[in-house]
């Protein structure tokens, strides 16, 4: 019968378990920060025409998730002028489109990718 020293494997296992917890926490912070940035930029992108003066306040986001994943849903609250957001974003036969949300999302995408990459590097480096 042979003896195997598994102490390093056990240490690695414990380390992975610990860093996985950190990863979820830091990823959630990055998702929240990204969602906030998109919300802020969307509000800035909205037309300053007096017709749409209450639309910016309708832009919000909701966070969801658990220990394993994090999501953010960003968009217009379906109340007040937010109910007309489709006309503002996509236009109508009388109004030209004025996209605010998708451009903000596209602008944030590279920053979010970098943030997630930095988190992964940091966590993997701690193993």
């Amino acid at each position: 019968m042979s003896d195997f020293d598994l102490s390093e494997v056990q240490a690695l296992s414990a380390s992975i378990a610990a860093t996985t917890g950190r990863l979820a926490s830091e990823a959630r912070s990055a998702v929240a920060k990204g969602a906030l940035n998109i919300k802020t930029e969307t509000r800035q992108n909205i037309s300053d025409h007096p017709t749409w003066k209450r639309l910016a306040a309708a832009v919000n986001y909701d966070m969801a998730g658990n220990a394993a994943y994090s999501t953010a849903t960003i968009g217009y609250d379906d109340v007040g002028q937010g109910e007309l957001a489709g006309i503002a974003e996509f236009g109508s036969v009388k109004h030209d489109p004025h996209p605010a949300l998708i451009p903000a999302l596209k602008a944030e995408a590279p920053r979010f990718e970098k943030a997630m990459g930095d988190i992964a590097s940091k966590v993997m480096g701690a193993l």
């Binding site: 489709g86 996509f90 236009g91 036969v93 009388k94 030209d96 489109p97």
Partner: protein, 131 residues
């Protein structure tokens, strides 16, 4: 974007499923059905180490308008037949196939004072590189 936009406009005007009235801005007295193409300038960026910004992301929106739901739907079929699974051909450039990014349900539009129309919004994208 202007050369690529010209290719898109030409394709919509004479697509595989028939001709369409196509405008690049909201028309004053349109013949129905019609399509408006709202295009941005395209965003130029680099995929090179030296940061030479030659690749361009192109996005545009089509707003298809008809005086009845059936007319709008028929025009929308021509739009999708023209752009889906199609690669813009532009001298000096190589484009990707057009991606259909978004399609909003057709809806009734009561905003005109003298008539009811039906409209549908679709968004499209492609990437253009030097040939």
């Amino acid at each position: 974007m202007s050369a690529e936009l010209d290719a898109v406009l030409a394709r919509l005007r004479n697509g595989p499923s028939g001709t369409l009235n196509v405008h690049d801005a909201r028309p004053e007295n349109p013949a129905y059905p019609y399509v408006i193409v709202y295009a941005d300038a395209g965003i130029r960026y680099s995929d090179r180490e030296a940061d030479v910004r030659i690749r361009r992301d192109l996005t545009w929106q089509t707003t298809t308008v008809g005086v009845s739901a059936a007319q709008c739907r028929a025009a929308l079929d021509r739009v999708t037949d023209a752009l889906e699974d199609w690669t813009p051909v532009v001298a000096g450039r190589t484009c990707t196939k057009v991606e259909h990014e978004l399609s909003r349900p057709m809806g009734r539009d009561d905003s005109l004072p003298d008539r009811v129309v039906f409209s549908s919004v679709d968004q499209w994208s492609a990437v253009s590189d030097p040939a």
